[in-house]
Symmetry: C2
Subunit: 207 residues, 2 copies
């Protein structure tokens, strides 16, 4: 796998120990995430929207309604896609060294509108598999009309800034003597019990 090469905007000026250039770490962060934050520029100002995504090899797929302006504005314009996992609250002895344990991937690029029907379907499958594994073969396939209402965008994973902070707080040495608890409060996302649609026909078990 080709490592992630630094570009001026992905080269980190501060905290170089957090940078990861291993492409496998990028894949792991993306594959473990459920939503991304998509940044676009609209009339010169930034707009950041939460949305689903999926990865196939070195391509990230996004989708949306053909009626959604911010997504339809994106082809041929630079976007930024950020996926973040909050892994813990870092409680230091000093307020200054309070921090977060996290893994983030910040991807820059120009997405292209997917016009090939097979690739559009593969992209939608990647998005579905990322959010709801197994559903692609269980649920009803999109109709031609539904496909026509769905915009699929492909963003190459060429330029990305991957950062990871883990481990205990980095207090200054003199502060270690303070009478203050220090450590990490882990954070994670969990699933609850599936809640059936009130209109669900009887006798259909949860997947």
């Amino acid at each position: 796998m080709k490592p992630l090469s630094a570009t001026p905007r992905t080269r980190l000026a501060r905290l170089p120990e957090r940078v990861r250039t291993d492409r496998a770490v990028l894949y792991e962060i993306l594959d473990e995430g459920m939503i991304c934050h998509l940044g676009v520029v609209v009339n010169g100002a930034p707009r950041v929207m939460p949305t689903g995504y999926g990865r196939l090899g070195d391509t990230l797929y996004l989708h949306g309604s053909t009626g959604a302006r911010s997504l339809m504005d994106a082809p041929s314009q630079e976007v930024c896609v950020t996926v973040t996992h909050l892994d813990g609250i870092v409680l230091a002895r000093s307020l200054f060294h309070h921090s977060m344990n996290y893994r983030s991937a910040v991807i820059y690029g120009v997405p292209s509108a997917v016009t090939d029907a097979d690739e559009a379907l593969a992209g939608l499958r990647a998005i579905t598999d990322n959010l709801a594994p197994g559903r692609w073969t269980e649920a009803r396939m999109p109709t031609r009309k539904e496909m026509a209402a769905t915009a699929v965008l492909a963003l190459p994973l060429d330029e990305a800034s991957v950062k990871v902070r883990q481990g205990p707080p980095n207090d200054d040495e003199p502060d270690l003597a303070l009478d203050v608890w220090a450590g990490v409060l882990p954070v994670r996302q969990v699933f609850g019990t599936p809640e059936p649609d009130p209109a669900l026909r009887p006798g259909i078990p949860a997947p």
Copy 2:
């Protein structure tokens, strides 16, 4: 409380049933969140970074190192701050109607650099209270040098787009007869057991 008034970019063209104009919902989404995604425009391209934040009344506070370019570039430039809660995966009978239950706040504005020492401290306290309640009075206060290394930005909560999707899938009526499970898989963030710093002095209980 003044309701959120629509501006051209917060007026939603699609799915108006998801829009909330009640300022209390904005507060709730912000106060329940731990990180936001801050969007800025750098050299004409969007950049989206995860970061902490805090709210005091109708002001959102952000902070960062005075050495972090993307934050220091922000005063006097438009930014977008988005806070998203993923509440569930919506599993429909059709792939097309798969969705997410979520609550999101998208805030637009021009932040100002906080130069008043008391307001900077109040802003940092709001950020700390949001991520690590109680620590402000437990941990060591920032020194003058630490304060000088910390940039605090204030963003007024004047223009925001608040959206909420909740409840079961919205399948098309003919699909209700399908033999496919449908419902919501709830998602939530939980805290684990605090992990003490290996360098923690003995005898200090977790907060």
